[in-house]
């Protein structure tokens, strides 16, 4: 009984994703199914809808619902200096090499609400590199990009972020970089002088520059194997020789087709260098 129900649900999801792709061009067909199902359930509840077919019908006629759908299907929750040991390793082992370049282009793919973009910006600032860098921070979700642009985060999170910052080898106090306003921490405008925020779709858009560093942390876990391969080859084509690719702490290049072209810079931190 359950198998039959499951296959109906899967079929409904397939149809929904096909419709969205042909109507709006957003391609979620190769997203990892388990997380996608969970997020679809959350969208249905938020929109007070009972079935996936109802959602499919409404999406065809309501573009604003499509924006909310994209937000609901893609949003994740990260923190500043998530995995402090990663940032420590990046500062200690990658930045000295980058310092030898006259100009450094970063691409932060899938930056969500921007917590980690500001973390890199602070790191580059403290290492005296900010003026020589440009960070292109992109995400599929317009709502997230707006939030990231503003650089305003919940004050309640600052205690955790400060602890992470110190563990990540921060040189001052995180509070040097923001002003407290009501319940919010407003990050200094100076930090985003060298950041370009833009909407970019990893599934369908092509490369837009050659980069020295690409960050893509905790995005590939939301993609299935085929899509992960596709996105990794997009990164490969966008990375200069000896460029750095940094993934999330539970993601790796192991068993992927580009693996032979990379070496690990820091074991266990998923920081790779392109060697071919």
């Amino acid at each position: 009984m359950i198998d039959r129900y499951q296959s109906i649900e899967d079929e409904e999801i397939n149809q929904l994703l096909e419709r969205i792709f042909y109507k709006y061009g957003f391609d979620f067909r190769e997203y990892a199914r388990a997380s996608l199902k969970r997020r679809l359930g959350a969208v249905l509840r938020a929109e007070h809808m009972a079935t996936i077919s109802e959602l499919g019908q409404r999406l065809l006629t309501d573009p604003s619902l499509m924006e909310r759908f994209v937000h609901g299907i893609t949003v994740s929750t990260t923190s500043m200096f998530r995995d402090p040991s990663f940032y420590r390793a990046f500062r200690k082992l990658v930045l000295p090499m980058l310092k030898t370049y006259p100009f450094i282009r970063f691409w932060h793919a899938g930056c969500a609400t921007g917590e980690e973009v500001y973390s890199y910006a602070i790191l580059l600032h403290e290492e005296g590199l900010a003026d020589r860098c440009r960070i292109y921070a992109t995400d599929l979700d317009a709502v997230c990009i707006e939030q990231a642009k503003n650089g305003i985060f919940n004050m309640a999170a600052m205690k955790e972020f400060s602890t992470n910052y110190i563990q990540a080898g921060g040189k001052h106090s995180l509070s040097n970089y923001y002003m407290a306003m009501d319940q919010h921490a407003v990050f200094s405008k100076g930090l985003r002088e060298n950041i370009v925020f833009a909407r970019h779709n990893l599934v369908s858009d092509s490369s837009f520059n050659e980069f020295h560093v690409i960050f893509c942390r905790n995005v590939l876990i939301y993609f299935n194997n085929q899509l992960r391969e596709k996105v990794l080859s997009l990164f490969h084509d966008s990375l200069c020789q000896f460029g750095i690719l940094a993934l999330g702490s539970k993601e790796s290049l192991r068993f992927t087709s580009i693996d032979p072209c990379y070496e690990e810079v820091v074991a266990g931190e998923q920081i790779y260098r392109r060697i071919i």
Binding site: M1, I2, D3, Y5, Q6, E9, A32, R33, A34, S35, K37, R38, R39, V75, S76, T77, T78, R82, N218, L220, I221, Y222, N225, R228, G248, K250, E251
Partner: protein, 188 residues
């Protein structure tokens, strides 16, 4: 449909119960086991090492897109949700559920969606209600739910909340849960 799976959720007081259960299972135990044990974001692989120290099974931290094998125990990493898909695992950094990441509900609900009647969910000791909805979902999809006897739990809020939904098959002591698992997972 790819075989059967056992999912276990535990919070406060769970480590020693998990250690006991896993120490009882034989090395040829025929099903994969996925575990969410609530713990601090910063925690390392210490939980895996504690659980492995007394077990004959392969115990490891779950990896994204990893295929499920029998006689293997997959533990959710700190600060990631663990989800089950058909035959493999997935991780996510979706928002915490009931303040928890990893969340028991996320593991149980994904297992129910992927494995239906072939899931056995085990609810152990815990001090909040993360796990209650997931257990309910497993029952709705035809699976089996077993709850640890609340009187022997370090924290009884989770088992009591799961019992309150009436969506379970039995309430057992940890000893009886071990025997149940051994019987259900014996190689035929």
């Amino acid at each position: 449909m790819a075989g059967q799976i056992i999912v276990i959720g535990a919070s406060l007081g769970g480590t020693s119960v998990l250690q006991y259960l896993l120490s009882e299972l034989p090395e040829n135990f025929s099903k994969p086991i996925a575990i969410v044990q609530h713990r601090a974001k910063e925690s390392t692989d210490i939980l895996v090492r504690i659980l492995a120290s007394r077990s004959k099974l392969t115990i490891k931290e779950a990896e994204d897109k990893e295929c499920l094998c029998c006689s293997t125990v997959y533990v959710a990493p700190a600060d990631y949700h663990l989800l089950v898909d058909r035959g493999f695992l997935a991780l996510s950094i979706d928002p915490p559920v009931c303040f928890a990441r990893p969340s028991i509900d996320v593991l149980f609900e994904s297992a129910a969606a992927a494995y239906g009647i072939n899931v056995t969910g085990i609810v152990l000791t815990g001090g909040n209600t993360d796990g209650m909805r997931g257990a309910q979902r497993i029952k709705e999809c035809g699976g089996t739910v077993i709850i640890q006897e609340p009187t022997e739990c370090v924290a009884d809020r989770l088992p009591l909340s799961a019992i309150s939904t009436a969506a379970f098959d039995s309430i057992l002591s940890s000893r009886d849960i071990a025997s149940y698992l051994i019987n259900s997972g014996a190689v035929p």
